[in-house]
Symmetry: C2
Subunit: 329 residues, 2 copies
């Protein structure tokens, strides 16, 4: 079994775009986000439609930023947290490209990068979109409680990012290059608290990261940054402990998109989460730093908690997954 | 834009397995299904857990049939109809392989074949599993009404297949070969009746099939069979009409997995549907006929209706998608 794949032709990320709600736009990396919204309804009647429209905008602007026409995009690879990933489906309906819907919860973005880079690297396609989104309000009412109920949030909870990120992977052009990907597997540490996603995902993140180091022969200092998706403060600490126990110290390189995206204060507790968390941070701040060559080589590892409200109601624990993708400027 | 990709190294389907409930096991292709169940609860406490266990069994037996160890499987690519595809996730939790979760409703199986064949053809991986499942009872209560309500089914409705299919795609070995794939796009004809999936999907199927013929330069008679996923009787008629209008007559070659799987009688009306419909039929009857060389070249095109209960409640129409994969004995 091998879980790390290498891209010999080094597919290029020729364009990207991000969009986010008011809270995210005021956060630590807000100034790097291309489209910032004053109203998270985005002129739509429902949260779900607003999320889908955000995804549409991100895909459209990423295509424009890559100086490609819509008709040059072979396939859109996208996923989100909504049941039957309707944000992605209804966004893709507005384009004439092919569509591959994917779902690995908040690890969806790097799952998409892996599939997209494979399609492009092997010259099966020329230009593909990889995208993902989430919306605080559509996620809360689907996974937890109606917002109107005004439930108190426990201290281990995270705040679902309202936002979407999209990038264009291409056979040629200029931009950061995707060099390798380690595919995650489903790891279950038996966490049953649906508010404690960081702990549920940390084991999967540690497994993927450890596998990546072993299979590539790289050490943590091969990367300027090792970026987890949305482990939050608690989950990040668990990840660092778990990989340290296996002989790798990532203290210096590790950052978490969930920690980066907000000016962490009491109300978000552990930081951001959601399928849009890592895609917004990657398609704004990280892409900018890679383009400027301030970051030379990074590992982006989105992390997903693979629960549904039904699995929780039926007493199942929460398995996690994480896919790691290395990108060089 | 190109939507058809060609697999030069012709990845091999070295093993497959199917499992289905009592109703499917008594149907026209029942004798080809490897594991037939007397009870669709499969020893589990809930329909969802039964569906996940079916998927686990199909993956396990496909691996055995391919004479591979579980540790030789690089990645499991799987999806299903449940919210957050928990049948797939919880099945994948039992394996140590990587996992890529996908969702294109009932078109998930050929989406998986496309991604799997790409990973193997480009030598990124050696052995991958492609699988999908559905369960009548878990689908009914998620998408429509509680079973206990005893709702009358309208004549255009289909019957969700209780079953799962899995196959192993490999770089080497003997078995049918995957030669090309045409990726579908999201097509919306404005159908709003969630009981009329066949009509909602027929437009997407016609678009994919027409694109496949145009991009490959093939005519319908290049195939022994052109197999749609779950259009049912009405949807199949619409598909044949639509491609006939564009200059292709598929009357002689076309069959539909939804029509094949049941001895169609009044209660199933239009035939079978569900993400397990095309995977069960392909991984049983079709694989057997390909292995025996009674079928030499087929096109399998799973078809998906991309709705959710939320999109229906919010007044959205039902977009469709279809991915076509050509397989040669």
């Amino acid at each position: 079994m091998k879980r790390t794949i290498y891209f010999k032709n080094k597919p290029v990320i020729i364009g990207a775009s991000s969009i986010a709600g008011p809270k995210e736009s005021e956060g630590s990396i807000g100034k790097f986000i291309e489209t910032t919204l004053n109203d998270d309804m985005y002129g739509e009647e429902t949260f779900e439609k607003a999320e889908s429209k955000m995804l549409f905008t991100a895909i459209k602007k990423a295509t424009d930023n890559a100086h490609k026409k819509e008709t040059e995009i072979d396939t859109i690879i996208s996923g989100d947290l909504l049941n039957q990933i309707i944000a992605s489906t209804f966004a893709a309906r507005n384009f004439s490209s092919g569509y591959l819907g994917i779902y690995n919860a908040c690890a969806t973005f790097t799952e998409g990068l892996t599939i997209g880079a494979t399609l492009v690297d092997g010259c099966y396609m020329n230009n593909v979109v990889c995208a993902s989104s989430s919306h605080f309000s559509s996620a809360e009412r689907q996974y937890r409680y109606p917002l109107e109920l005004g439930c108190v949030r426990p201290p281990q909870s995270q705040w679902t990012v309202t936002g979407a990120g999209a990038c264009i992977i291409s056979t040629e052009g200029s931009g950061p290059k995707i060099t390798a990907s380690t595919v995650g597997r489903v790891i279950d540490y038996g966490v049953i608290d649906a508010n404690n996603m960081g702990a549920a995902m940390a084991g999967a993140a540690a497994d993927t990261l450890y596998t990546h180091f072993v299979e590539t022969g790289l050490e943590p200092d091969a990367y300027d940054l090792i970026i987890s998706g949305d482990l939050g403060t608690l989950g990040s600490r668990i990840l660092k402990d778990l990989v340290w126990e296996k002989g790798f110290d990532i203290e210096k390189q590790h950052v978490d998109c969930g920690e980066l995206i907000y000016n962490i204060c009491e109300s978000e507790y552990q930081g951001g989460s959601g399928a849009g968390c890592s895609s917004v941070v990657f398609c704004s701040y990280i892409m900018e730093r890679l383009r400027e060559n301030k970051l030379k080589k990074i590992l982006i590892m989105s992390t997903g908690a693979l629960l549904s409200s039904v699995s929780t109601q039926q007493g199942d624990s929460i398995p996690g997954i994480a896919h790691a993708v290395s990108v060089e400027s």
